[in-house]
Amino acid sequence: MPNLALRNLLHDRLRSAMTVAGVAFAVTLVFVQIGLFLGLLDNASVTIDRIDADLWVTSRNTPNVDFAHGFPETLVQRVRSVPGVARADNLLVQFLNVALPTGAEEGMLVYGLEDFARWGLPWKLESGDLEDLRRGDFMILDASAERRYGPFAPGDYREVMGYRLKILGRSLEALSFTTSPIAFIDYRLVQRLAGERMSGRTTYILVRAEPGADLAAIRAEIGARLPHNDVYTAAEWARRSRGYWIASTGIGLNMYITVFLGCLVGVVVVAQTLYTSTMEHLKEFGTVKAIGGSNLDIYRILGLQALLAAVVGFAFGGGISAALAPAMASIGLKLIVPTGLTAAVFAGTLLLCLAASFVSFRKVAAIDPALVFRA
């Protein structure tokens, strides 16, 4: 049977292309904006997500993993003695300065542990051996640092806080929200590099519970033994770290505004092109009414046109977003589009396009079928 909605779309190809382009633009905007936002947020908690710890002990009110401040490192002994704790180690996270061969100085976010392999940090190595880190003034630098520091290779030296450190290897995917490159350095060496300020101090205690242990009880016990610290599960700490950037930097608001604008652009384009198309086909809709069609018949046509534009526009927008991901990655930006987001954007696209078609429908619903008799 003839599908008037589909045939009208195919008949008005230029207008249909504009409608689809509007939807695709909006979908791309939403995917890219939310995807980049999720990528940035992922950076904000990627080390927490990857480190194999059940609990994190932090200084009181530490806002996020990057902005750590110190407390006595000996507190780790109290944690290790808590029943159910399998392992507890100090972790130092510090911003240090690195001198580049160009003479410039840059910031660097340093993670210091005594045994990196035990905690699964860094989780992906391009080159180098974690066991070698404790054997001298060495570091493993994330490959993403090349964008800030210029090219480097294992065996190169860089000056960190006035000390020459040899680059042992390169890690992958260790990014920070602040975009400062991440380096992995032996715990004691980090203390030395940070100077007197961090002497005998740590910034976190990582806790791994014994299999089957009651994590809530361990947490409560640690809280009781370290009353001036906070204790979080890994999930809570990751959420807190991400939440800090959303709430305190305006990035969340920026994302919401852009997503809103993307949706608005999509709705306006779809509504406007459908409306213009409807105005041009007004006599046809009048004819549908004259031959006995109801408003529902007409809304089926308009709604189906909107849905077809939504599906095709979504496919194009999704395709463009997927194609953009590698380009973004090449400049150090992560585009994360989870399945849930894809489903939500698809559903949103359908709904908004249907809503946009309603503008036209209101016009058509009010037309007098007697217009078919006008020349």
């Binding site: 049977m1 008037l4 045939r7 031959i291 069609g293 007697a370 008799f373």
Partner: protein, 250 residues
């Protein structure tokens, strides 16, 4: 074909007299509100059509022809009076019922053809049947029969833009008759056609109406329509009047 044109105003045709009218209007009035003023457009119109009867409705612009056609076609409701279409009385208090009557009992042919430009001739007819509730093979067969009846089987897959004016009007007629409605309403169906195409369309109307027994009302300025009409009715200032004298048809 009648040789003397029947220009009867009041007396119904013999067919009407002998059978139940398929379309009936009694004392129909219609007025529109223009600001605070009621403007009467129709005043006490009576009309009855029997199955198989062709009535030409003639009148100058603004005389109320189209308003009467809209009321007979259940597109407008009368301000007062009574309209019965195929045995169902139109109830102005139930406007939701009008599309049902149009769907079931009426076929329209418009001056501008009003074909769907994105659909082929066959699809135009099929779509109308779809709106009227016929689908699938039944609708396909009915569309094919209709197009064959108007002599357009070989143009069934043409888009309207690829058809001549006469062919478009024949597609419009095929669309109007496809569901075999008892009443056909045509608004200036020959106005946009040249003399030859117009004559062909009128012959087609006559043959179809005779063959199918539908009633046909043709609103027209075209004197040639009288050639096929059983009755010619004049309308002026919203009232049925004696039809204007016959001009020499072209």
């Amino acid at each position: 074909m009648p040789t003397a044109l029947p220009l009867a105003l009041a007396p119904p045709s013999p067919a009407v007299a002998s059978s139940r009218p398929v379309l009936l209007a009694e004392r129909v009035t219609k007025s529109f509100r223009d600001g605070r003023e009621e403007v009467p457009v129709l005043s006490g119109v009576d009309l009855a059509l029997a199955p198989g009867e062709i009535v030409a409705l003639e009148g100058p612009s603004g005389s109320g022809k189209t308003t009467l056609l809209s009321i007979l076609g259940c597109i407008l409701t009368p301000t007062s009076g009574r309209v019965v279409v195929d045995g169902e009385e139109v109830d102005p208090r139930r406007p939701g019922r009008l599309p049902e009557i149009r769907k079931r009992s009426l076929g329209f042919v418009f001056q501008q053809y009003n074909l769907f430009p994105a659909l082929s001739a066959r699809e135009n007819v099929e779509y109308a049947l779809q709106v009227k509730g016929q689908r699938g093979g039944r609708a396909r067969d009915a569309a094919a029969r209709s197009l064959a009846a108007v002599g357009l089987t070989d143009r069934a897959d043409f888009l309207p833009r690829d058809l001549s004016g006469g062919q478009k009007q024949r597609v419009a007629i095929a669309r109007a008759i496809a569901a075999e409605p008892p009443v056909l309403l045509a608004d200036e169906p020959t106005a946009n056609l040249d003399t030859r195409a117009g004559a062909q369309v009128l012959d087609l109307f006559r043959d179809l109406v005779r063959a199918r027994g539908s009633a046909l009302v043709i609103v027209t300025h075209d004197a040639n329509v009288r050639r096929i009409a059983d009755r010619v009715i004049g309308i002026r200032d919203g009232r049925i009047v004696a039809p204007p004298p016959a001009e020499n048809p072209t």
